[in-house]
């Protein structure tokens, strides 16, 4: 159940800070994992997720209700991630001491967010796929968004998303077969 709209309304219109807190608690993990599929770095994804919530708190953009609150929030986060990628495309650096713990950190978030073990394995297999494949798979398969919502976030047509999703699943299947995973649903 998407309660983000009401929480945001409480925060924006009534000045209730707890509304923003509820939003952070409900959406931060999923947003971080989604942004991680874009930027390829869990720490950067976490910073970008924080930037997304800060933007909500400072600029207070108007949520018009044309889509779900989550779709709207993920769109904002994606835009910030794209901007970040443009700025850091040539200067992508990760501290050496953090690189070794990178998979573990992401595993922690994964485990906290993705309850089902099957999905955990799939998500870990997704890390080796292209960014676009990761994004669309995450949004559709893990966030259980519709193709239309995924298209809205990724700023593509529904047809493009469907095509992308087909290729992503095919690629994921290959990856899983390589890893010896057997799941007919993918």
């Amino acid at each position: 159940m998407d309660n983000g709209a009401s929480s945001y309304r409480r925060f924006r219109d009534n000045g209730d800070d707890s509304g923003l807190d509820d939003i952070i608690i409900e959406y931060s993990d999923g947003l971080i994992l989604y942004l991680s599929s874009i930027v390829g770095n869990i720490y950067s994804a976490e910073e970008l997720a924080e930037d997304t919530f800060v933007l909500l708190g400072t600029k207070k953009p108007l949520f018009k209700g044309k889509s779900s609150f989550r779709t709207w929030l993920y769109s904002i986060g994606r835009n910030l991630a794209i901007d970040w990628l443009r700025k850091c495309s040539r200067h992508k650096t990760v501290p050496i001491e953090e690189t070794e713990s990178l998979p573990d950190y992401e595993n922690v978030i994964e485990e906290a967010y993705i309850q089902k073990e099957e999905k955990l394995a799939i998500h870990r297999a997704m890390r080796s796929l292209k960014s676009e494949y990761q994004q669309v798979l995450w949004l559709v398969y893990f966030e259980e968004m519709s193709n239309k919502e995924a298209a809205e976030i990724m700023r593509k047509s529904v047809r493009s998303v469907e095509s992308l999703l087909y290729r992503a699943r095919k690629s994921l299947r290959s990856q899983l077969e390589m890893e010896g995973f057997d799941n007919e649903k993918t």
Binding site: I24, I25, S28, E50, G57
Partner: protein
């Protein structure tokens, strides 16, 4: 790893920093804009009070003033003989001898003035003029009593205007009515309306001609047939 609580704390602190920054920014803008606004108010007040109106000095066209010496002597000779209404100009062609007098003729139709001097000379005019005024009182009285042919003919509204002492600026040179000598018109150079001065206002249709005898002479002809002579005159400087 940031827990949710840590993230919430970080987000709120960043929001507070942003709001503080905005307040400082607004204060800076207000401090910067205050003197500009004050200056604008002052300027508006001055403008409404008319402080910025540009009123250039209006210098009306001033006819050349013949003040000093030579010109004054010439005009003195003629002014004494000219009455306000009806007299035509009196030629003040005089010689050193006291006996010479200026002949004054007036036409009945217009204020044409024909001057003829018995002995044309450029001698000491002031003395002569004075003597002229004294010498033939009868002639002057006759001139005074005779009806004014003051119709300038060129200006029906001011019929005696063309009888008055006239002047004109021609090609940057100043010409004043002169009563010495007889000259023959040569080339037409324009109408009264073409030259600044007396004739532009009162006798715009008068015709200006050069003189065959002298380049310093301009002959003014009126439609009534009369004519006057203008002579190039050097105006004294204001420093004199």
């Amino acid at each position: 790893m940031k827990r949710h609580e840590d993230m919430i704390k970080n987000v709120h602190s960043r929001i507070d920093e942003y709001k503080a920054e905005q307040k400082k920014k607004h204060k800076r803008i207000a401090f910067a804009a205050a003197p500009v606004c004050a200056a604008a108010v002052v300027c508006a007040g001055l403008w409404t009070a008319g402080a910025f109106e540009n009123t250039p000095d209006k210098q009306a066209f001033k006819a050349p003033v013949s003040e000093p010496s030579a010109q004054a002597e010439i005009t003195q000779a003629t002014v004494q003989s000219v009455t306000s209404a009806k007299l035509t100009t009196v030629s003040a062609n005089t010689t050193a001898s006291a006996a010479q007098t200026a002949a004054v003729t007036t036409a009945e139709n217009a204020g044409e003035v024909k001057t003829s001097a018995t002995e044309p000379s450029a001698a000491t005019v002031p003395e002569k003029s004075e003597e002229n005024t004294d010498a033939p009182p009868t002639q002057q009285e006759e001139a005074l009593t005779q009806p004014a042919s003051a119709e300038s003919s060129d200006n029906s509204s001011s019929s005696d205007a063309c009888d008055r002492l006239g002047d004109a600026y021609i090609n940057g040179e100043y010409y004043l009515q002169w009563f010495g000598g007889t000259f023959t018109p040569d080339q037409f150079i324009g109408n009264g309306s073409d030259f600044a001065g007396f004739y532009q206002d009162f006798c715009p249709n008068a015709e200006f001609y050069t003189a065959k005898e002298s380049s310093d002479i301009v002959i003014v002809r009126f439609s009534s047939g009369g004519e006057v002579t203008l002579k190039k005159t050097v105006l004294p400087s204001s420093d004199d």
